[in-house]
Symmetry: C2
Subunit: 230 residues, 2 copies
């Protein structure tokens, strides 16, 4: 599976969050495409990137309840009518569409009655409308809230969740998580020289927890089945 | 009352709709500010325009379910945190905030189950969120749908409705309409040389219809009152 991240941030080199996510995105079959770095948008080239991908992600900090203008400029230029839905052809049909939104405020502020009064889901409607028009499959939003308040451990957890959002099969079910962690552990054991001990530990923790959960689930299911057979 | 229109359209000289609205906007106390024409945004100057206005309107064609990137760039530059809500001061508090949105599709397409599946109200959420944050009063959206299909008469009606949206007291009640049409007729009779006969006719029609409506309403109210007294 190929993943394309369309990143928008006008001062990305000063953004700790984006730099951190950039490090996390260095995975096989993941392409990082920072729109503000493009000097002159080559429409065909950008459209090719989209066509080649199986999962397309727009990633940006929330600026006035939307993406920075750089992303809108990219959209207005690259997403020509014919490329999205013209001539009854849908080049992006069935690809997955995700959003990675970083916020300075905690997520709980984005709801009726809270400081922001609108949910991220409501605010992201224009992006979902594009994905709908292109007949893409919409993934839940991945939110990075208040990155600078996070401890190192929280950051490591965020990194793994982010990598899962980029590369794990969806929906984000227990079974799909399990498969992803297994594969990740295999890769790391093959490549033990470069593996960060911390992240191996975290992944192992996560993996073992999931395994326990799965076992418990299996036990419960067996019990129910036995009872039913009584 | 002063009205400021922040207009965004990357090719405004080729837009029949925007040129038409531009002609309509030539009224006393109405400022037309086309953001794509600004070479280098002077933040203080733009903020002063906003501070001076009583009614602020964002006007644009719907590009991918939002405004063109030029407007977002203007927002991201001009609407600094402190200007909108910082330091517990709200420079735009109680001003009115309106949206003039032009669409290539009919308005009925913007609803669940129709071609676009999202209402303009939903799509405009990010703009309303800004207005809310600034403690502004939100006006209903003024939509211009499929301008090129309109007959000359429909265009004249649109022009008058647009001018009312720019300058009439809100809410858009019968009483406020009445006052606006009376004032407009007075102005036109004073300035009869330049008055377009067609628009005088239309305004008179509108005015007389309203007067009839008002009279009927009065009659009905009187009848109800009489019956109650029986």
């Amino acid at each position: 599976m190929k993943t394309l991240i369309i990143v928008s941030h006008p001062e990305i080199e000063n953004s700790q969050t984006q730099q951190f996510l950039y490090q996390g995105s260095k995975l096989d079959n993941v392409t990082w495409n920072h729109v503000e770095e493009i000097n002159e948008i080559n429409i065909k080239q950008e459209q090719q990137l989209l066509t080649d991908a199986d999962r397309i992600i727009f990633q940006f900090p929330l600026y006035w309840y939307s993406a920075p203008s750089g992303l809108k400029n990219w959209e207005d230029t690259v997403l020509t009518r014919n490329f999205i839905y013209g001539d009854k052809s849908f080049p992006l049909e069935d690809k997955e569409f995700g959003l990675v939104v970083t916020t300075g405020l905690p997520l709980k502020d984005y709801q009726k009655g809270a400081a922001e009064n609108y949910s991220l889901d409501e605010l992201m409607t224009p992006f979902r409308a594009i994905a709908d028009k292109a007949k893409m499959k919409i993934l839940p939003i991945f939110t990075v809230q208040q990155f600078w308040y996070k401890t190192e451990l929280m950051q490591m957890e965020l990194l793994i969740d982010y990598q899962r959002y980029l590369t794990q099969d969806m929906p984000d079910s227990l079974a799909n998580k399990q498969i992803w962690f297994e594969k990740k552990l295999q890769e790391m054991s093959l490549d033990s020289d470069t593996a960060d001990e911390r992240s191996v530990e975290l992944i192992l923790d996560n993996f073992l927890n999931r395994t326990e959960e799965l076992e418990q689930l299996n036990d419960t299911l067996s019990m129910i089945k036995e009872n039913e057979e009584d």
